[in-house]
């Protein structure tokens, strides 16, 4: 029987992981909804965002301004990628070509990272040092701060999508691309905005994870998979669904290894995804 403090540590860690998955899933779901593409190189954007923060902090820029700069830079990179690689062309199957292009981009960016970012793993300065006592459990402060950043980012995104003209136009484009086009909404601009926001969120997730864990050229692979699992669990196109999916996955990854060991923990999330796909293929809060 695990003690209460062990449970607390596992839960807090699971929530922190879950919010990182939510950040990844939000970008993926935005691009999938609005552009109709599965951007498989999203994990590499996450990695590049984290490395940019690393290099900026090495140049005596504080970690918080560096994160903001990295988000902006990755947003711009997202715009370039949309414009150059992912924009629909006549006679081109968007879904298929995007998979081919983003797979190639994954290989190019990860290989370039090995060459450009050098040998061994690197670390970002801690967001905040130390831990604090929560009902007898030692909880790392940086994880709590990462949760805070993620929640704020999600609130801002939700407000943007619900309260601004561009946000509403993006939602309309996601719901009905042709219909919104007839209403004067340029789908290409919506795609650009989706890529920019998605990449900025990936950069934020990369920086937060990079500060908690470590930086290396292949650091984006697992978060990419977790992001995908999150949107499958939560339901495509649903922000609350992404949050619920991320929390479920995060708590599973936080609690199961502690309670049942690493082997069970590695299998359980996949089993749950299969069950969701079997009994609720749209995901928990997904829609047609």
């Amino acid at each position: 029987m695990k003690s209460f403090d062990v449970w607390m540590q596992a839960i807090v860690n699971g929530i922190a992981l879950g919010w990182l998955y939510v950040l990844m899933a939000m970008g993926l779901t935005l691009m999938l909804s609005i552009m109709g593409i599965l951007q498989l190189a999203h994990g590499e954007i996450y990695m590049m965002g984290a490395f940019l923060v690393y290099y900026l902090t090495r140049r005596e820029i504080g970690i918080y301004p560096a994160i903001v700069v990295s988000m902006a830079a990755m947003a711009v990179l997202g715009v370039i990628l949309e414009r150059v690689l992912f924009r629909p062309r006549p006679g081109r199957d968007v879904a298929l070509t995007s998979i081919v292009i983003s797979t190639g981009l994954t290989l190019i960016l990860s290989s370039a990272a090995v060459v450009g970012f050098g040998l061994y793993t690197k670390s970002l300065p801690p967001l905040i040092s130390g831990s604090f006592d929560l009902f007898g459990a030692g909880v790392p402060k940086d994880r709590i701060l990462a949760i805070g950043f993620s929640v704020v980012a999600l609130i801002l995104l939700y407000t943007f999508l619900k309260r601004t003209r561009l946000g509403l136009a993006m939602v309309a484009s996601a719901q009905n691309r042709e219909g919104s086009f007839l209403k004067g909404i340029n789908p290409n601009h919506m795609s650009m905005a989706a890529m920019a926001i998605g990449c900025a969120l990936a950069a934020l997730a990369g920086a937060l994870a990079g500060s908690i864990l470590q930086l290396h050229p292949y650091m984006g692979s697992l978060p990419m998979i977790n992001g995908l699992v999150t949107i499958v669990l939560g339901g495509l196109g649903s922000i609350p669904g992404a949050v619920i999916g991320g929390m479920i996955l995060g708590l599973l990854n936080g609690i199961l290894p502690v309670m049942f060991g690493a082997a069970a923990a590695s299998v359980a999330p996949l089993v749950i995804v299969i069950l969701v796909l079997l009994f609720r293929p749209k995901g928990i809060l997904g829609h047609e």
Binding site: Q9, A73, V79, Y120, M219, A263
Partner: protein, 428 residues
């Protein structure tokens, strides 16, 4: 909301400028990890070379296989660089004398892609196309087995560069011909670390152990037995899944068992594990018996409050011996933008040891070289960058085909490295 081609064009220009800025920021940065004090020497000691060829000058081709693609690409690249430096040393010295001939060393490097299939392809190319008589390298058990399946039937001597799990099916054994491990057993340093702990932390007796779930049970049993022999006790052992990046769940259970010491068994992620242990409030001695550099702990963990009472078995690049220093000099001269990676130290040893055996045998025949190596069982029969080495393993593996050489111990205290020295392995 963006609109019009003009704004798109402006955005793209801005994007290019920002991207350029990113590139500039990323360029020109020296590697932080494993960076060392500036080297001064320019020769690599120890290799018996000759500048006065007696017989014919020939080229000795040695195949080298490492996984340059995938997660092990970083140490793999360092391994290849260690080999290249050895070839450079031989070349500058005019070759090595083996028997009556003088040989230049040519290392032919292939990428296993970190997988058995790639290792098979690489070994086949080296054996069939390049016609090598010696192959070295590979870090994973699956790669080792795949390479051996190609080299043995071809009469080629294979020297593996690493083994994660001693006594694994892919490790040396009496029934495996033309196969030698020029890499130490990763658990041979466990008794040394426990002795160090007893001496420096006499009140610390309860040990919490973390191990990957890839078959470390044999090594764990040895650790447990060595601990009990010294009046210590393993109070908790936790396995983590291979590929884990977040060690908080693993260490939640370990720290909850209230150990005096945490022993992170042979893991290149021991620095991540240290962070997790300290974040969860563990303040006692933390042992990493992998080759992960103590300097890597400093640059990756960063927080000095975490970096105290950390005991490592890596080559201490801030306190290099003469051989290591010379090696580091050459690395810096050849790859000035890349910080030195200590895996090159062990890597250099492999072709060097092969050549030492060839010189002693006076032959480049693989079977003769192997037989000679097997007889080099006295301390000092072999030279390595870490000190006097020898071949052993008869008691444990049934055959003297495993490298034994001193292990370094370095302690990190308050973010500073304290080099304790090199220690000969203790038979247990």
């Amino acid at each position: 909301m963006m609109s019009g081609k003009k704004s798109v064009a402006l955005l793209c220009v801005f994007a290019l400028l920002v991207s350029l800025g990113v590139a500039v920021a990323a360029c020109g940065e020296g590697e932080e990890a494993a960076t060392t004090a500036a080297p001064t020497t320019a020769t690599t000691g120890g290799t018996e070379t000759t500048t006065a060829p007696v017989g014919e000058t020939k080229t000795l081709k040695i195949g080298g296989i490492m996984g340059l693609t995938g997660p092990l690409s970083i140490p793999s690249l360092a391994f290849m660089r260690g080999w290249e430096i050895y070839a450079d040393v031989v070349k500058e010295a005019g070759g090595v004398k083996i028997g009556n001939d003088t040989y230049m060393i040519e290392i032919i490097e292939e990428d296993s892609k970190g997988a058995a299939e790639g290792a098979t392809t690489a070994a086949s190319k080296l054996v069939n196309q390049d016609q090598v008589q010696f192959v070295m390298g590979a870090m994973l058990e699956t790669e080792v087995a795949a390479i051996y399946s190609v080299t043995q039937p071809a009469g080629v001597l294979y020297a593996t560069a690493n083994i994660n799990i001693p006594e694994h099916a892919s490790d040396v054994s009496p029934d495996k011909d033309l196969f030698v491990r020029l890499a130490v057993s990763p658990d041979e340093n466990q008794p040394l670390d426990l002795d160090y702990l007893r001496e420096n932390y006499p009140d610390a007796v309860k040990i919490g152990v973390s191990q990957p779930d890839i078959g470390y049970e044999g090594m764990f049993d040895r650790l447990k037995a060595s601990a009990e022999k010294r009046g210590m006790e393993v109070v908790h052992a936790e396995k983590w899944a291979w590929g884990t990046t977040d060690f908080i769940p693993t260490y939640t259970n370990i720290v909850a068992s209230k150990p005096d010491i945490i022993f992170a068994m042979n893991s290149g992620q021991a620095n991540d594990q240290l962070k997790a242990a300290r974040q969860l409030g563990f303040t006692g001695p933390f042992v990493s018996n992998s080759p992960l550099g103590a300097d890597v702990f400093l640059v990756t963990v960063q927080d000095p409050t975490m970096l105290t009472d950390v005991i490592c078995n890596s080559p201490d690049v801030t306190h290099p011996n003469d051989a290591m220093k010379a090696l580091m000099d050459r690395w810096t001269a050849k790859w000035p933008n890349d910080g030195f990676v200590s895996d090159a130290v062990h890597a250099y040893d492999i072709p060097w040891i092969l050549v030492q055996a060839m010189q002693k045998a006076g032959s480049t025949d693989p079977a003769v070289v192997l037989a000679t190596l097997e007889a080099m069982t006295n301390r000092g029969d072999l030279q390595t960058n870490e000190g006097p080495g020898y071949m052993g393993g008869q008691d444990r593996f049934g055959v003297n085909r495993v490298l034994y050489r001193p292990f370094p111990i370095t302690r990190i205290m308050n973010g500073e490295l304290e080099f304790a020295g090199f220690f000969d392995p203790i038979p247990e």
